[in-house]
């Protein structure tokens, strides 16, 4: 995704302001004033029709940033009241995405459309290409009958003038499982029973109309309390800022966390456990196994393709193992996973060891709000050294590779990757489940985001630069040691 477009920057500004408001001691009042502070009287109206609409949208963005559901908003409740609720709630909301109703453009429904470029040619390949008889000629031009059209795009492919286009609805187009559709009024709505929380809709909407329900206020409250708060930083963090992972960790300490752990610690456990699981399955005669650490993929198996379940490794995720370690090492601590991922928030809500999830953008906003300059931070020393392969979990291919190395050459490992989920891949995976076989390899790594976690929906850095940063840090680590008793 693009990490610096206006919609993203707006979201970050709202977050910075709310954190500042929380820290000011005058939280409710300042939260209430947010839309007016961001768009004061007579201010320029950069994006929408008028200042009032901009403010209304900012109000809804702030509701999400305070952890509320815009779906349940009644338009009348003040932001100060949302802020108060955030201070009092015992648990964050149990779903992670919300549609910023007022920001949603209500895009025209997705369809195939003949533009003015149509020359009404004599060949008329579009009419013959259409297998559904949906194209006829009216007034010398091709016209598509919406009732008959199946959106197969054959006509688009044959038009010599490229006169036929597909009108997309970006969020619907991005969703790998058709979980976001239009409601009666033409605005987006998320079907929670299908949603993988992958964040693809959020990353793709040009109006910034899908948002995460943040747990930032809950986290700030934990930091303020006298409990120990542990930040568990995902491997993707190594490429997120211009400074080293050790400096970012010190930044988190400055921001009030007590301890920082690398989630790569848990990834080492995942790699070893998964290698063992894999060896057992292959011995049993299974044809393939898939990895289990991508949270959106786990949701996909649960909600969309349950047939795949028997082929998914039983291994828990690096986040889970790390949080379990944290709770053992520091009894009574509050655990906060810090990562690039929207789906991890959903996984965290269901994990007994994970208390909260903060994404990289929110972490960045925290640094901005507290004026923490990372370049000036010291190098934090982690208690445990993590392996090269664990640090590479954030890159496509990294997880499968870790299983291979952790297997120590004892089993035939043929890794393959599903690099990014989309409807086509989902259908293909269904056929593997039905046949009990994957033609591409015997260990299938699945990453919902193309490129791996460095391409998550809540990142700070460009994914190519981020990937380089992760690889450079990984190269400083030692190879994972295969378990002897494996």
């Amino acid at each position: 995704m693009q990490t610096e477009v206006n919609t993203v920057l707006l979201r970050r500004e709202v977050m910075v302001r709310l954190i500042k408001a929380f820290l000011s001691g005058d939280f409710e009042k300042q939260a209430d004033a947010l839309p007016f502070d961001m768009r004061p009287k007579h201010a320029e109206v950069p994006f929408r029709c008028c200042i009032h609409k901009e403010r209304a949208i900012l109000r809804e963005r702030a509701i999400a940033a305070l952890g509320g559901s815009v779906e349940q908003d009644d338009d009348k409740t003040h932001l100060g009241e949302y802020a108060r609720r955030a201070l009092e709630r015992e648990k964050p909301d149990n779903t992670v995405l919300t549609v910023i109703d007022t920001a949603c453009q209500g895009c025209v429904p997705s369809r195939i459309y003949v533009t003015d470029l149509c020359q009404g040619c004599v060949a008329r390949p579009c009419t013959t290409a259409c297998a559904f008889g949906a194209i006829s000629i009216k007034n010398g031009r091709s016209v598509i009958d919406g009732e008959k059209c199946k959106s197969c795009t054959k006509c688009m492919q044959v038009c010599p003038y490229s006169a036929i286009v597909k009108i997309k609805v970006p969020c619907e187009d991005a969703c790998p499982v058709g979980a976001i559709t239009k409601n009666g009024s033409g605005h987006a709505q998320i079907d929670v029973s299908r949603c993988l929380s992958c964040g693809a809709c959020m990353a793709s909407c040009p109006f910034g109309a899908v948002a995460e329900k943040s747990q930032m206020i809950d986290i700030l409250r934990a930091i303020k309390s006298d409990k120990k708060v542990v930040a568990m930083i995902a491997p993707a963090i190594a490429g997120q800022t211009p400074v080293s992972i050790n400096k970012v960790a010190s930044g988190l300490i400055k921001a009030g966390f007590d301890i920082v752990m690398e989630v790569a610690e848990g990834a080492d456990i995942t790699a070893k456990t998964e290698a063992k699981d894999f060896a057992e399955r292959m011995e049993k005669g299974d044809k393939f196994m898939t990895t289990s650490c991508c949270a959106a993929y786990r949701e996909m198996v649960k909600k969309i393709v349950p047939e795949l379940k028997p082929y998914v490794s039983e291994t828990a995720t690096p986040m889970h193992y790390t949080a379990e370690l944290a709770k053992k090492r520091y009894p009574d601590c509050v655990t906060v996973f810090v990562g690039p991922c929207v789906a991890k928030r959903s996984e965290g809500l269901g994990d007994e060891f994970v208390d909260y999830v903060m994404n990289f953008e929110e972490m960045g906003a925290l640094f901005v709000a507290m004026s923490i300059e990372l370049a000036q931070c010291e190098d934090y020393v982690f208690d445990v050294e993590t392996s090269k392969q664990a640090r590479n979990f954030a890159l496509t291919g990294g997880v499968a590779e870790s299983v291979k190395v952790a297997s120590g050459g004892k089993v035939d490992v043929r890794p393959t990757c599903v690099n990014g989920l989309n409807p086509k891949v989902v259908r293909e995976m269904m056929t593997w489940a039905k046949k009990g076989e994957c033609p591409l390899g015997n260990i299938v790594e699945v990453m919902a985001c193309e490129g791996g976690c460095v391409a998550g929906a809540a990142c700070l850095n460009n994914k190519k630069i981020a990937a380089r940063g992760v690889a450079a840090y990984a190269d400083k680590g030692e190879d994972i040691k295969p378990d002897e008793n494996n």
């Binding site: 800022t241 640094f367 300059e373 700070l460 630069i465």
Partner: protein, 88 residues
């Protein structure tokens, strides 16, 4: 000196600027016309101190300094436009 006479572009990659949009500016060198390469000297800096000027200084981030001029709310387009003025 190698960089003498070149237009000096200092991109702030301090934490505030980075979070508020400077990550894109890292690509400036690849996004500007290649023939500018020997006319422009691009470097990355840590905090230029601008973001701390007031409580809402962060809103004007990211900052880029072109020769002696400080540009707030910098985008690749804005920087390229400024460079165009200076180059022709």
């Amino acid at each position: 000196m190698e960089n003498e006479g070149k237009i000096r572009v200092r991109i702030c990659l301090g934490t505030t600027c980075f979070v508020m949009g400077a990550s894109k500016l890292q690509e400036l060198e690849h996004l500007m016309p290649p023939e500018w390469k020997d006319k422009v000297d691009i470097s990355a800096d840590t905090c230029l101190g601008m973001c701390q000027n007031s409580n809402s200084g962060f809103m004007k981030a990211p900052f880029v300094k072109i020769n002696d001029e400080m540009i707030g709310g910098a985008t690749v387009e804005k920087v390229i436009d400024k460079l165009k003025e200076l180059i022709v």
